[in-house]
Amino acid sequence: MLFTFFHYFIFSSSVLLYGIGFNSVTILSDKIRLLRLSLIKALLTILLTTISSWAVCYTFLIPLNICELYPFVVILIFLGISIFFETIIRITTDDSAADFNLTLLIIILAMNESLSMIEAVIICLASLASFILLLFIVHIIKLRIYSTNLNNYVTFTSKKPLVFIALGILIIIFLGVNISWLNTGMLK
């Protein structure tokens, strides 16, 4: 369980290696304080959708040998739950927390790579935790860019290339230990 969590959290981060929310993390890190509501909604949507989808797949799709259709079940349940939460948020706070890509991809990843419902839930939590961790890291990188001389000529939109380069270096730092650098093929 713990290994599965850390696998999708850091070792094989769902953001850095699977690429879920790779673009969103560079955009949303600018307004990190306003994301509390969206993240709570994403967490609830992901958990409820995963549990319901897993139950439906286990009850109907597996006995009928049509497991390939699981994304179809996921999107139908996801739309219902997501619209329900979105309506509640809009009525109570006059705000919007609509998100489609990140949450749906996390659920599909969890359904695709899990063997039990608990494992699917752990993958979901680890993926969301990985996204939040990356949000903070990218936010700090951007603050660092602001505080340097680069800020004088790098505009708002063109900070992104530097973030991409920083993320590339971050992947090497996280995953460099997995590469056998002394392998003769690597340093030929």
């Binding site: 259709l69 999107i75 890509n101 749906l104 991809l105 992104k160 991409f164 090497i172 030929k188």
Partner: protein, 202 residues
């Protein structure tokens, strides 16, 4: 497109190209998926506008995107099982990405021809970038050019004995850094172009 939309478009394209394996045949398959998705979404949007089903149009389009991806994956599994296995989860990325939600699923009430041209223009630029990027990674990372074929892929070795440190070019971090550099070049060109445009206007 506004300047901000172009920046968003470029960053989405770069983000998608980073996560795919550095093989040319993967680029070809994802480009074909994107083009088919673009054309069918334009037709479906037009049909939904025609029958005045605009209230739940976005929901139907989201469900259609998933339906299309399942169908595409099934057909790919039949024709190229090895490639379908390698792509696995990645096949959902072009369809469930910010690109689809920001540029293809829109509220506009344009004619079929106008929306087809609009969507195809954005998709074609996206596909050309993906193809060139994957070709670069394949060529300089593995020293080969690979093409999709039934039941697997064809590999042409261009650079002999390319198994050293250069294989890092095909990796995800190298793609990240390369995308960053390409974005810097794009933004520099755009800035110079704007300066020239302003100067000629005066």
């Amino acid at each position: 497109m506004t300047r901000r939309a172009v920046a968003l478009y470029m960053s989405i394209t770069c983000a998608l190209s980073i996560i795919m394996p550095g093989r040319f045949y993967i680029g070809v398959i994802l480009s074909v998926e994107m083009l088919l998705l673009t054309v069918t979404i334009a037709f479906l949007t037009h049909l939904l506008n025609y029958i005045k089903l605009t209230l739940i149009k976005e929901c139907i389009l989201c469900i259609y995107v998933i339906f299309f991806t399942i169908l595409f994956k099934s057909l790919l599994s039949l024709a190229m099982p090895l490639i379908a296995l390698q792509l696995s989860f990645l096949i959902y990325f072009p369809s469930i990405s910010s690109f689809t939600t920001a540029f293809l699923i829109t509220d506009s009430n344009k004619t079929l021809m106008a929306s087809l041209i609009d969507n195809l223009t954005s998709s074609l630029v996206f596909c050309v970038y993906i193809l060139l990027f994957s070709l670069f990674r394949d060529l300089f990372g593995y020293g080969t050019i690979t093409f999709p074929a039934i039941p697997s892929f064809i590999q042409l070795r261009v650079i002999a004995d390319n198994t050293g440190i250069s294989s890092l070019i095909a990796s995800v971090p190298a793609a990240c850094i390369l995308s960053g550099v390409l974005l810097i070049v794009f933004l520099m060109i755009e800035r110079k172009y704007n300066i020239i445009k302003l100067a000629t206007r005066k």
